[in-house]
């Protein structure tokens, strides 16, 4: 991995990363971190490879259909350069989130649902772990790096869970393969910033438009009334409970 203005590589062989979800965003992000020589690459998922995944989940091929995603991905990631690949056969859940994220140098979440996004935000905030949020739907994607001090956070921007009908997921709306490839690479790029201590691109939500090929950064500010990182909130989130991740 090159540092700006030099040809010297930054050694990340002592770093630990967790990727939540090895789908369309998680696959290219994991591949990029592996190629950069990440020390420990932790991946969590509980899904199997489906034929419909193959156009966008680029770690898998036809022979992997029906296999556990983690088992299919591990040898590829080791071959690409990750020093260790540690498997967590589970989704990120309220019961395990803090344990899963604890101690990592960066967490990347490319979850396809808001409950997991808010859960990752809360767990990483409580464990003081930097986090990259990613999302992609139809032709658009977003990427957001949150520092370990947690502010501004995901809840500063999107506050709380939405009802299912209010915001479509890629299940109902679809997603273009190349778009998740670009956004997944952007997630890895932001993660590599964090791993070398460069926070200059944190706290901005990057919006990628796959039709116009434009990338635009919209800055966030810490919101004093934010229920997670806010300085003036009445009832801050200080522990994770299942009720926080149930849509109203």
């Amino acid at each position: 991995m090159l540092t700006p203005g030099s040809t010297a590589k930054t050694d990340i062989s002592t770093k630990r990363a967790l990727i939540v979800g090895l789908g369309g965003l998680g696959c290219p992000a994991a591949m990029a971190l592996a190629r950069a020589g990440i020390g420990q690459l932790h991946i969590c998922d509980d899904d199997q490879v489906a034929e419909s995944n193959l156009h966008r989940q680029v770690l898998y091929d036809q022979d992997d259909v029906g296999r556990d995603k983690l088992d299919a991905a591990k040898p590829h990631l080791l071959a690409l350069g990750a020093h260790e690949v540690i498997l967590h056969r589970s989704r990120l859940l309220p019961e395990n989130a803090q344990d899963l994220v604890r101690g990592h140098d960066i967490v990347i979440e490319g979850a396809d649902n808001f409950a997991t996004k808010f859960l990752a935000a809360d767990a990483c905030y409580l464990e003081h772990v930097p986090l990259v949020h990613g999302a992609a739907i139809r032709f658009i994607g977003t990427a957001l790096l949150i520092k370990s001090d947690g502010a501004p956070c995901y809840r500063c921007l999107f506050e709380d869970l939405l009802s299912g009908a209010a915001a479509p997921s890629c299940d109902s709306a679809g997603v273009m393969g190349p778009v998740v490839g670009v956004v997944g690479a952007l997630l890895a790029d932001l993660a590599l910033d964090a791993l070398r201590g460069d926070w200059s691109r944190s706290g901005q939500i990057f919006n990628f438009d796959g039709k116009s090929l434009q990338l635009r950064a919209v800055p966030l500010r810490p919101r004093p009334s934010c229920s997670l990182c806010g300085t003036a909130t009445q009832r801050p989130i200080r522990q994770i409970s299942r009720a926080l991740y149930v849509a109203p």
Partner: protein, 91 residues
């Protein structure tokens, strides 16, 4: 005031595919109303009975209106309003 509004991809079906539209408005509230007049159905995607929908953020330039005067944020001629919606997907 002539205001440029940046329309995110999910809402462009309501603006005939346009990624930016020009409307008149002295405040963000005026702009939302102008958007509705020009592109029916857009207001409902941005607002509910309580105000701006929770999963939508409106920006004037680089400033979230929640840090300004909300919907009553006054606008200058030529300013740009952006709509930033929450999305989840990517598996």
């Amino acid at each position: 005031m002539a205001i440029t509004v940046r329309i995110p991809t999910p809402l462009r079906t309501l603006t005939a595919g346009q990624e930016t539209v020009q409307v008149e408005g002295k405040s963000v509230r005026d702009v939302v109303d102008s958007l509705e007049s020009a592109h029916p159905g857009l207001k409902e995607r941005l607002m509910d009975e309580k105000g701006v929908r929770r999963f939508v953020n409106l920006y004037v330039g680089d400033e979230d209106i929640r840090f300004l005067d909300g919907l009553e944020t006054e606008l200058k001629d030529g300013e740009e309003v952006s709509i930033v919606p929450a999305i989840a997907g990517g598996r």
